[in-house]
């Protein structure tokens, strides 16, 4: 068990080493490049706030995904649920674009969560009633939602005074997440993420639903034998997951962005899959993992400025983390094998 939570650290160390080697091959001083990547970005207060800002959506989505993954439901379309949540939440925010009121932000947030939930229900319903593969359906829907957003921001929802830029009006101040500190971009959305962590811990470890989820993940046969309502559970985990992704989307548009445009998420929905794995599907592990992965986003931005390398390099690190993490699981597999061998020996 200790090894299970230890291997993510091995993966991170190997990723840093691997990154150094790639930088060396590309002709950079690896130590210096890695410093720009992992230390410079968080060496001041502003950087630290940016880290939390990027970790917030990652943490929220990964928490939601942990429900799906724990119960063996492969929702990989969180990016789509995030986008659709942002569309629905953003739509509500645009309704109130020239109004102020304390009730607006809660409405916008609620709309975002419901939007994500509805969008996640599509693969869930198709899976439960038509036996379709949820991996492919949720993935296809990512592109559908992104195209829908694109249509809305260039078409019906584009800012009438916006000179045909592909963006909507600015939201009113009442639809914006309150900032936590003057001059920093970190906003109240982080409390949503923390609440999600607490709530998910409670649901997963203290309720009957959580028990059902875990049993179904370990063995579908056992779950059936125990008489769990499999279909309802699939719908529920997808709804939780979609709501979390929708919240993340709404947090982005009401937080740092303040309107809808094409680029509301740098693939947070896909990267959160890495976060969920790195955090071992454990609520508190996910907090840690979201900070680590958020750092790769920040590092890529810093490296772009100081080393003139494209910011896509963040994805090299994200990909490597997952590679190494999955590979290091082999150690666990091995240990299980050794243990089971020992047990067999004892029996004979």
């Amino acid at each position: 068990m200790a090894l299970y939570f230890f291997t993510p650290f091995i993966a991170i160390i190997l990723t840093i080493l691997g990154g150094g080697i790639i930088f060396y091959i590309l002709g950079f001083n690896p130590i210096e490049a890695l410093k720009f990547y992992f230390i410079t970005p968080i060496s001041n207060l502003y950087g630290f706030s940016e880290l939390l800002l990027k970790a917030t959506p990652l943490c929220l989505i990964a928490i939601g995904l942990s429900f799906c993954f724990k119960s063996n439901n492969w929702n990989i379309g969180a990016e789509g649920q995030l986008t659709f949540g942002a569309i629905v939440g953003g739509g509500v925010a645009l309704l109130f674009y020239n109004q102020e009121g304390f009730y607006i932000l809660p409405l916008v947030i609620l709309a975002g969560a419901i939007g994500g939930m509805i969008f996640a229900l599509i693969p869930a319903i198709l899976k439960t009633y038509f036996n379709t593969n949820e991996i492919l359906v949720s993935l296809m829907l990512v592109y559908v939602s992104k195209l829908l957003l694109d249509y809305l921001v260039v078409g019906p929802w584009s800012n009438p005074e916006g000179f045909n830029f592909p963006e909507t009006r600015q939201f009113s101040d009442s639809s914006r997440m309150p900032l936590l500190f003057e001059g920093l971009r970190i906003h109240a959305g982080i409390f949503l993420a923390l609440a999600a962590v607490m709530l998910s811990w409670f649901i997963l470890y203290k309720t009957y639903l959580g028990f059902q989820i875990k049993v179904s993940g370990l063995s579908l046969k056992t779950a059936k034998y125990a008489g769990f309502k499999g279909k309802t559970m699939i719908l529920v985990v997808f709804m939780i997951s979609g709501a979390c992704a929708g919240l993340a989307g709404v947090g982005e548009i009401t937080g740092p962005i303040g309107q809808l445009h094409r680029m509301i998420s740098p693939d947070y929905g896909f990267t959160a899959i890495i976060v969920a794995f790195l955090g071992r599907l454990n609520p508190f592990g996910i907090i840690f993992a979201s900070l680590v992965v958020a750092l790769t986003y920040l590092g890529a931005e810093t490296a772009q400025i100081f080393l003139q390398i494209p910011k896509y390099t963040g994805q090299v690190f994200q990909g490597m983390i997952l590679f190494f993490l999955l590979a290091s699981d082999y150690l666990l597999f091995f240990k299980v094998k050794i243990l089971s061998l020992k047990k067999n020996e004892l029996r004979h």
Binding site: I22, L26, W74, I76, L126, F130, N131, T132, N133, I135, L136, V137, L139, M140, L141, Y143, V144, L147, L148, D150, Y151, G155, D267, F270, T271, I273, I274, F277, Q308, I309, P310, Y312, T313, G314, Q315, V316, F317, Q318, G319, M320, L322, F323, L326, A327, D329, Y330, F333
Partner: protein, 310 residues
């Protein structure tokens, strides 16, 4: 009227050209999936093929080396996936996603110095016939050799899977790895080969984009084609000939939306772009409802980890 007909000929020719990367990547992925392996890394392998093909063309000034190199780089990058999923028994979905994310990042890193360099003209075959025959000329002639290969590939794949012993082995491994293994087939080796073959085809698909279709290097230039190729395999219910038809439909939608924009057609472009994805979902629903239909061609053990007790 003759103008219209020759225009339609050119239109069909351009639809064929735009479907080539989809045919290549989907045919490769089809073999991989038929062996029971779900590799979601298509997009990543394609973009790696695109940058390595283009970089090799700039460095060596030799298109043959560029094409072969792009396939090799696809093989190398898919080897990571193969090693992880087959030797270290990792989850196919997660590993494939990691491969795509990694590939997009690595290609941008490698391609940093190749942005803005103009590409080289790729030789086309039978260019004189293209001009002289009115309707069929632009359809049949004046294409690159890669296009002809791509259009032959689904038929070759079909023949391979249905008529050869090796094809039978691949299908057996995908349908029931345990029985295949009991028959003395090295399941892991077969799956490795299918993964690497898929990588080579995805690499070629990427090189087609950066060397022939739009001869230049742009970051993230595959622009989701890898995901469409993945959808296409499902859309085609794992049958190679249907991959060809599906690729023409999906490629046709891409070309149509360009023309519709030009003549000011009122359907928003985004709805047309979303069609391939929506159609794939509908096909999935239709084939999944009928369990007999899905069993006909679907590799039964798709995405499941096979582990041989020693």
């Amino acid at each position: 009227m003759s103008l219209d007909i020759s225009f339609i000929g050119i239109l069909i020719g351009s639809i064929m050209a735009s479907s080539v990367p989809l045919i290549l990547a989907a045919s490769g992925e089809l073999i991989t999936e038929r062996s029971g392996v779900l590799n979601l890394g298509v997009e990543g392998m394609m973009i790696i093929g695109a940058i390595s093909g283009f970089a090799l063309m700039v460095i060596t000034d030799n298109l043959f080396i560029a094409i072969v190199g792009s396939m090799l780089s696809g093989v190398i990058i898919s080897l990571i996936f193969g090693f992880l999923t087959q030797s270290l028994l990792t989850n196919h979905v997660a590993t494939g996603l990691a491969l795509t994310i990694f590939g997009i990042g690595l290609s941008a890193m490698l391609g940093k110095n190749f942005v803005g360099i103009p590409g080289k003209e790729f030789p086309i075959l039978f260019s004189s016939l293209r001009e002289s025959i009115p309707f069929f000329g632009p359809i049949l002639f004046g294409h690159s050799i890669v296009l002809y290969f791509a259009f032959a590939l689904p038929f070759l794949t079909n023949y391979f899977l249905k008529k050869t012993k090796l094809g039978l082995v691949v299908r057996a491994v995908g349908d029931s790895p345990v029985s295949a293994s009991n028959q003395g087939i090295n399941v892991i080796l077969v799956r490795y080969c299918c993964i690497l073959y898929g990588g080579a085809m995805c690499g070629l698909a990427g090189a087609y984009l950066s060397l022939i279709y739009t001869p230049q290097w742009i970051e993230n230039m595959t622009a989701g084609r890898g995901w469409i190729a993945l959808a296409l395999v499902v859309f085609a219910t794992w049958s190679p000939i249907k991959v060809l038809i599906g690729a023409l439909i999906f490629g046709g939608i891409t070309i149509l939306q360009l023309h519709m924009q030009a003549i000011g057609f009122r359907i928003p472009v985004q709805f047309l772009s979303a069609l391939p994805y929506l159609m794939t979902i509908i096909v999935l629903v239709v084939i999944s409802r009928d369990s007999r239909k899905i069993k006909l061609n679907t590799p039964t053990s798709l995405g499941r980890i096979f582990y041989k007790e020693k």
